[in-house]
Symmetry: C2
Subunit: 240 residues, 2 copies
DNA sequence: CAGTGGTCTAGACCACAGT
DNA sequence: CTGTGGTCTAGACCACTGG
């Protein structure tokens, strides 16, 4: 009794691992974790079992071992930029993203979109064009192309505010993205939508993204950012 | 004979690990590795020792375990964009990078450069301005700022072709970079250096980079890319 | 010194693959 | 069935750290 319903099936090293994870959860970096021998006697398991549990947490980056001293809560390691959505990258700047859907309909995939989505040319795809704002200012025009089965029935209801949130709910949050980035001048249509005056030349940042969940292409998009209102930030680590 | 000079000091799990690594080096994905028990009898060690060796290779992404089947050479996992130098990213496109040094001298760090380099304002820094070409065409103007102790004596000899190669030789290859990217219009000086005609507005991609080796800032740079001749490519994975 | 993590042994039983 | 990896035990000695 008492214990979790599934206790019977729990592996010992998992029990120890999760116990330690809870102890360590939110603790300040440098806080000592229980020593290996301490856990051995607490759980009545072999030391190798405890080490297996701690090894997992070390690989996760939660713990650090210091030979001769002990095991401690690791200081958070630097992490490279994850695949971020517009909503998220705006939130990171402390602003709230707003979205105006300009267009949302079925279309036949053109050759470029079809190749990127890995579907046959002419296949039905969903084309979703949005004007994206932050802090009340127009930031970006974004054309998203989706395979119809990625978000079935989207067109029949209210379009979601955040594409990535919708994908997340379907268990399809992008885990991988391939982006290309270049500078260009805004077209007349873009100038109009982005509230750019007609007098001066307007550079924009064009970002093409192909986002995948595992091996599945979930998003193909092209965005044009007003360069005076948006800078892309990247953190990159080694390829390893 | 034959064996490595330092064999005496080698840990057993390291010996096994490197043995397997050599076996597996360059093998096709899916190729089976020796079974654990096979290695046990080959090396006369305990199975836990063999597992420790293989675990390391699994974490490295070199091997994959398939319960009930065996251990196999893993198919190369997708890897996000590493911190790349101009030379490397041009090479990735199948071209050769050329460099013309426009300026290389000591300067006093301005406030922005000083902050980025984590030195006191007014400290001596090395300012290195280069015109970068690929395929015979001007691509980019790059201003690099270096702390004097990062590449001591660079100014007194021939400037290296590739900054990252020089850093690599000093054991200071960037392992981390923080970049910001935006679109802008070329200045008159940039138009001149980049062979851009004076008639049409010329969008450029401005990339500011702060590159670190571990915790040490090794490079601070600002680059302006001709957008019609250069597109940035990125592959991003989850933050994990 | 006592305590820590790092390494290592020589077994064991299990679930699962393929034959 | 046999062979594989996954889990686990109950010890052991080492090098290192700190007091």
């Amino acid at each position: 009794m008492g214990q979790t319903v599934e206790t019977a099936r729990e592996l010992k090293h998992v029990v120890v691992r999760e116990h330690v994870r809870n102890l360590v959860q939110g603790a300040a970096p440098g806080t000592p974790a229980p020593s290996e021998r301490e856990l051995v006697s607490q759980f009545g398991v072999a030391r190798m079992t405890v080490r297996q549990a701690l090894d997992a947490l070390v690989v996760e980056g939660l713990l650090e071992r210091m030979p001769g001293r002990g095991t401690f809560v690791a200081r958070p390691r630097r992490t490279h930029t994850p695949v971020a959505s517009f909503t998220e990258s705006v939130a990171r700047r402390g602003q709230v993203a707003e979205t105006v859907t300009l267009l949302a309909r079925r279309e036949q995939a053109g050759p470029g979109v079809a190749r990127a989505l890995e579907v046959a040319a002419g296949s039905p795809v969903i084309h979703w064009r949005r004007l994206r704002r932050a802090g009340g200012e127009a930031i970006c025009i974004q054309d998203v192309y989706l395979a119809p089965d990625v978000l079935p029935g989207v067109l029949d209801s209210v379009m979601p505010e955040s594409l990535y949130e919708a994908l997340c709910r379907r268990g399809l949050r992008p885990t991988w993205s391939e982006d290309s980035i270049r500078a260009d001048l805004a077209t007349d249509e873009e100038r109009d939508l982005l509230d750019i005056g007609a007098d001066s030349p307007a550079p924009v940042l064009r970002v093409s993204r192909r986002a995948l969940h595992g091996e599945r292409v979930v998003e193909v998009s092209r965005s044009a950012y007003r360069s005076d209102r948006h800078t892309l930030y990247l953190q990159l680590g080694p390829s390893s």
